[in-house]
Symmetry: C2
Subunit: 220 residues, 2 copies
């Protein structure tokens, strides 16, 4: 059982929830039945003190000299992240990105399922993704959200249309939005908007390349 109070829960940063996801991925790749924070840190290049702090925050304490029970910890993380049941997502924008996301494995396995694709282009409406989701018109959005119990809206349109799509999703009752458009969205009370910035990954690679160059200059 989690011992976290609501006020604590609200202040948990996104970095923390992302680390919980990372711990879950690591645990899923283990064959062991128990693991210590130290072993987990060494194996996956993580920080042992941070692992202990994060897990204790959600009511999970390892046993000194034994570590964590892997199966129990996995279940605990799955419940904490709210992926112990399936949540339905809808994608607005059936361009290359929207179509790629509709078939993305991580969006269609335990915990999540893409159930609808929306696009304004009459030529696209009626066509289907590889996973057989038919593209529908924006007019259908509200009805689809209700009928298919959609909880998550994914914005895969261009920057010019993104805010309008976001507003439509919120009006339809969606309060968790994943945004791929490179624009800052207006915040709304009770609505969580997460924007994905893929460029950060390239900057991290650039940092590595630059340091490799600097190291060569230092020794060369």
């Amino acid at each position: 059982m989690s011992t976290v109070q609501r006020s604590d829960r609200e202040s948990i940063s996104e970095m923390t929830t992302e680390r919980l996801s990372v711990y879950l991925r690591c645990l899923e790749s283990l064959d062991e039945t128990t693991i210590s924070s130290r072993e987990l840190a060494d194996r996956f290049h993580l920080n042992a003190a941070q692992i202990r702090k994060d897990l204790a925050h959600f009511g999970e304490f390892g046993i000194r000299g034994v570590g964590y029970n892997v199966g129990r910890l996995k279940e605990h993380l799955i419940r904490t992240l709210g992926i112990d049941r399936s949540r339905h997502a809808l994608i607005v924008g059936a361009g290359n990105l929207g179509m790629a996301l509709a078939d993305y494995k991580g969006f269609n396995s335990e915990g999540f399922r893409v159930v609808a694709l929306i696009d304004t282009d009459p030529k696209k409406i009626g066509q289907a993704s590889k996973g057989d989701i038919t593209i529908e018109a924006p007019a259908q959005l509200g009805e689809i959200v209700r009928r298919l119990h959609v909880e998550i809206g994914i914005i895969a349109v261009g920057p010019a249309e993104a805010q309008a799509v976001c507003d439509t999703l919120v009006e339809a009752g969606i309060c968790a939005i994943l945004n791929f458009a490179p624009v800052q969205m207006r915040l709304r009370d009770g609505v969580k908007i997460k924007s994905v910035d893929l460029r950060i990954n390239l900057e991290s690679l650039s940092f590595f390349l630059k340091n490799a160059e600097d190291a060569l200059c230092d020794t060369g």
Copy 2:
């Protein structure tokens, strides 16, 4: 000037370089000429102590009572991340994801440019992306890397082919790889592989939804 030693640089975690990218995004959206770590933290929901620690680590210190010079700090972060010059990237896999990434704005603005697309499908070879990058055959990869000075390889193929593509990229001299396939790659000395897991974003939204539900249950 950065005062960081090489051994320090090597041990900098990916979370730190990602925070540098986040700071840069925040600074780019400011009109002010100076800003304190406290103001920056308040404005963008960051942690002031973490900002000071991260920036001091890279040789940037704010002035007490004044803060950081925004322009100078931006330049410093751009240099630190190695994006003060353009780095060329090549995408392997011209499916929906590869085509979306080829046109992705963040991969084609200051610091980065997608210069080539590779696919095995003879029907795709010779076709072009919206941004007018022609899809070429895998046999051309080595020559393209040399001719266009490609530094970053982006893997946008399925999980079954990803490791072979990764090996080909390394053989062609690429030592920074961004992997979108949901597989763990074999590590290689001197090669940095960054895998993107978009599902983490959905898990973060699920965590929000779950806590909103729990809060309703608590008060309901």
